[in-house]
């Protein structure tokens, strides 16, 4: 043996290996040649004739290697200059703490609304009082928290349909909910949940936006108390918070809001009932095992410990009754916030459980409010509950109770159907043709399946059945269909919010953008078409909602000159041209300034070191898009003053010197001349 040379020893393997490789190459070439399955990966430009194209267009399609499907996709998404999009998608901005506004079908990014995180262009968090006050509302225990992990946006609804007036979004990391006014696309309020450190199942709204739902996630003692993990079952609790929203004021009213104490299962996502189920709220959960982790101590890690049992619990909450209890004072105070105790909820029939296949994700109520779809995550099915059957089961009385006494309804008596879709079902949306769409994380696909009952007549397909799957790239989390979680979904478009992009875009280093994929769902049956990839390079978005663009009625300019976006009314410190002035009162210098193309008035501001400076600037423009910025380098002031807006900021002039302030928006040909001096004498 030892006399054999290496080539003799490995020669036969090498030959066999080469033959196998040659066969593989041949197979791949043969498989790919007929033009079919090659659409998923980059490929040689295949010369295909696109029917109906002119000679020029045909030449372009050939030169760029576009298939007929590619050309159709391009034609479905291309927007000639000046043509606005048909739909607007509000997407969570993930770690950015912001909200993304995207036009459909072009997938053009229209705006990144500053929410939990400072945003310089909008002057969000760099001095402007109306922004600083909102960000300060979001401080946690008095400490600045200037980022957020935005998860689920919720458009305000009237009778279960988007009305285009308000937008809510939660911050999972810090348990906060923000209110955005869709007249000016600006954040108006942030509320910090007083009972929980973080959240997940928010924000969702009730059909007339009386309540904004914020479900918790990782159980902890309510109100930020300490308790040992050994006392998990006794001391740790889950929660769901119902924030009262006052549409007139455009604010959440914490004093009229309340939370429900829940068992320490990890509540995941919630959805509000609608139409027949209005007044009820559904939240799914995982870790009914009450695993407390500790892999380092030899315990099963959470990923295993929380996945042991076959069933977790769908929480069925009688919101109307919960509101009655809260209003009747049947609450305990936690950090000054009303909490309905678990025991009270149990006694008063506020809370019921229905078993759901283990560690599910996503709970989504069908357009008619009649079915509740829970996605399996670790189970290949979606489980569809019937609201009617749930009501009958509650009427009949529960078969058993969990260890906290919460009544558990019998699985078989409340489930309408289970539909097997594939691996990793997460979230479900609906269309106008009786189809439901569920994201399949592990399969990296979106499944289209049919609803039964009254939805069955809307399409020719067999009810409660998987119809087709379309591959997405890759690892889809949430999906959003046009108005796909309302009482009247539009169909047409679906966006797959993919977590991984892998090979979809040019490389930009090890941190890759997320990939939003637009899918045409107009045609029935198995005809879904992938239209467009949109990279998101700002954070990992979770959920998004898509509203018909004509439902939005944003302002072109603020309604009056001297508008305070914080109060959405005329600012008492607004000034018109000719009324500008500087006043000194002791050590306070107050400036009332105007901005108009291309000058600030006054242009020279002189103070003494140590003076407190209160500065108001009114943009007296009425022209659309005539925004001025104002930056005061050296004092970290940067504000955006939109046409008609009055901005106020304050600081102490604690550094002497000469500081030139300037307009940060290229407002006019004399933009560079739109400047002035702030002189601080020692």
């Amino acid at each position: 043996m030892s006399t054999q040379s290496p080539s003799q020893r490995y020669g036969p393997y090498l030959i066999v290996g080469l033959i196998v490789l040659a066969v593989l190459v041949a197979v791949v070439v043969i498989v790919r040649q007929p033009g079919g399955g090659g659409a998923q990966t980059a490929q040689q430009p295949t010369v295909t004739t696109v029917p109906g194209l002119s000679g020029d267009a045909e030449a372009i399609a050939q030169a760029r290697g576009l298939t007929p499907d590619d050309v159709a996709a391009a034609l479905k998404t291309y927007m000639p200059t000046g043509r606005p999009d048909e739909y607007v998608m509000f997407s969570s901005g993930g770690h950015s703490g912001q909200v993304l506004v995207i036009g459909l079908p072009s997938m053009r990014l229209l705006k990144v609304i500053g929410v939990f995180t400072p945003e310089p262009w909008q002057g969000w968090g760099y001095g402007a009082k109306s922004s600083m006050e909102v960000l300060e509302q979001g401080y946690v225990n008095g400490e600045p928290v200037l980022w957020g992990d935005t998860h689920h946006p919720a458009l305000s609804e009237t009778q279960g349909d988007y009305d285009g007036e308000w937008l809510f979004i939660n911050d999972k990391a810090n348990g906060r909910v923000a209110v955005i006014d869709l007249r000016d696309f600006e954040t108006k309020q942030i509320v910090k949940n007083p009972v929980a450190v973080n959240d997940h199942g928010g924000a969702m709204v009730t059909p007339n936006t009386e309540w904004v739902i914020e479900g918790g996630q990782y159980a902890a003692p309510l109100g930020w108390e300490y308790a040992s993990l050994d006392d998990y079952a006794d001391e740790y609790r889950g929660m769901v918070t119902f924030w009262k929203f006052d549409r007139g004021q455009g604010r959440i009213l914490p004093e009229e809001s309340f939370a429900l104490e829940l068992p320490p299962y990890w509540q995941d996502l919630c959805d509000s009932g609608k139409v027949v189920s209005e007044g009820w709220v559904f939240c799914n959960s995982f870790n009914a095992e009450m695993a407390t982790g500790g892999v380092e101590k030899g315990n099963p890690p959470f990923e295993a410990g929380a996945s042991q049992r076959d069933m977790d619990y769908l929480h069925i909450i009688n919101l109307n009754k919960a509101v009655e209890l809260a209003q009747a004072g049947r609450v305990e105070e936690v950090n000054g916030f009303k909490v309905v105790p678990l025991q009270t909820s149990v006694e008063e029939g506020v809370l019921y459980f229905a078993p759901e296949p283990k560690s599910p994700h996503g709970v989504d109520v069908a357009p008619g409010g009649d079915y509740i779809v829970v996605s399996g995550k670790l189970d290949p099915h979606v489980t569809v509950y019937s609201f009617e059957k749930i009501m009958q089961a509650i009427e009949a009385g529960p078969t058993e109770r969990d260890e906290y006494g919460v009544p558990i309804l019998d699985f078989d008596s409340v489930v309408e159907k289970q539909v097997e879709l594939g691996l990793g079902p997460l979230h479900t949306q609906f269309d106008n043709q009786g189809y439901a769409y569920t994201s399949l994380f592990l399969d990296s696909a979106v499944a289209r399946w049919t609803l039964g009952g009254s939805y069955a007549e809307k399409n020719p397909d067999e009810p409660w059945a998987l119809i087709s799957k379309i591959p997405v790239h890759y690892n889809v989390g949430h999906i959003a269909a046009a108005e796909g979680d309302t009482v009247s979904p539009d169909g047409k478009y679906l966006v797959s919010l993919n977590k991984w992009a892998v090979d979809r875009f040019v490389g930009v280093g090890p941190l890759l953008p997320q990939n939003f994929q637009l899918i045409d769902i107009t045609q029935p049956g198995d005809q879904m078409q992938l239209l467009y990839d949109m990279p998101i390079g700002i954070g990992e978005p979770h959920y998004a909602q898509i509203i018909k663009a004509d439902k939005l009625k944003p302002w072109d300019v603020y309604p009056e000159i001297g508008w305070d976006p914080g109060t959405q009314s005329k600012d008492p410190n607004a000034v018109e041209a000719g009324q500008e002035r500087i006043e000194r009162r002791g050590n306070t210098v107050e400036i009332w300034m105007t901005a108009v193309r291309s000058h600030f008035t006054p242009e020279i501001v002189e103070v003494k070191k140590g003076d407190r400076v209160i500065w108001h600037i009114t943009n007296i423009e009425r022209a659309k898009d005539a925004t001025h910025g104002f930056a005061l380098p050296g004092y970290n002031i940067n504000v955006s003053i939109e046409p008609g807006e009055t901005v106020t900021f304050e600081f102490v002039a604690n550094q002497d010197g000469v500081f030139s302030f300037y307009c940060t928006e290229f407002c006019s040909a004399l933009h560079l001349e739109m400047t002035g001096y702030f002189l601080v004498s020692p």
Partner: protein
């Protein structure tokens, strides 16, 4: 009574009125319509200008009414300050403050002309007749005044030479193409002038014979011929 009749002309006899109602109705109708047009014109723009530039899709508009300027005045003023043109509000302040009363007076004079049955009627309607021309002359004066008196310290003083914006038609200032034209208010005022002319024609036809009857009785043919030729001239 005789003095008054000398001033406001003869009243037609009852039997003649009954016989030829249309003859005496027509001048009243046309002069009345002229008053109507004149009064309605207050509510419509007399002149309008559109400024067209790439960054203003749809353009900027200003509508000049006899007592106010509406439209994108603020924006136009903002742009005009670059070339040193004064704000539009400073133009024709006296005219605008008096214009509504003036039109009311013109209208009352026409109404008076209906009741005056001699050639004084033509004199009474004369201001209303000439009113559109006076408006245009005044507008031109202000356009010229504004365009020729640019602030020499304006940011773009070298880029734009003093100019007179066209009263009607196209002009050019910087990147703007201007399109000016007369508005419906002006056309109503012009229609009023036309109606006055027609009204005076029928007025003359209706009352001249009556006036001549009187004059003939007093002064004879010569005076009558002079009087009628004067009325013709005025008409």
């Amino acid at each position: 009574m005789a003095e008054l009749e000398k001033l406001i002309g003869p009243r037609p006899p009852e039997e003649l009125l009954a016989q030829e109602r249309l003859r005496f109705l027509l001048p009243t109708v046309f002069l009345g319509l002229a008053v109507f047009c004149l009064l309605v014109s207050i509510f419509f723009p007399y002149w309008r200008i559109t400024l067209l530039a790439p960054q203003y899709p749809g353009g900027l508009q200003a509508q000049v009414y006899i007592n106010r300027v509406t439209g994108d005045v603020r924006e136009i003023d903002g742009l005009n300050h670059y070339i040193g043109m004064r704000p539009l509000d400073e133009a024709a302040q006296l005219e605008r403050s008096l214009s509504v009363y003036m039109v009311a007076v013109l209208s009352l004079l026409i109404v008076a002309a209906i009741y005056v049955h001699n050639r004084l009627a033509a004199v009474l309607t004369l201001p209303a007749l000439l009113y559109p021309a006076i408006f245009l002359a005044d507008l031109y004066y202000w356009l010229r005044n504004f365009g020729m008196n640019l602030d020499p310290n304006a940011p773009l003083r070298n880029a734009v030479k003093p100019f007179v914006p066209p009263l009607v038609g196209e002009g050019r200032v910087g990147q703007f193409r201007t399109v000016a034209g007369l508005g419906s208010g002006f056309y109503l005022a012009a229609l009023a002038s036309f109606l006055i002319l027609v009204g005076l024609y029928f007025h003359r036809r209706a009352y001249k014979p009556l006036v001549e009857g009187r004059v003939e009785a007093r002064d004879g043919h010569q005076a009558d011929r002079q009087a009628s030729s004067r009325v013709e001239q005025v008409s």
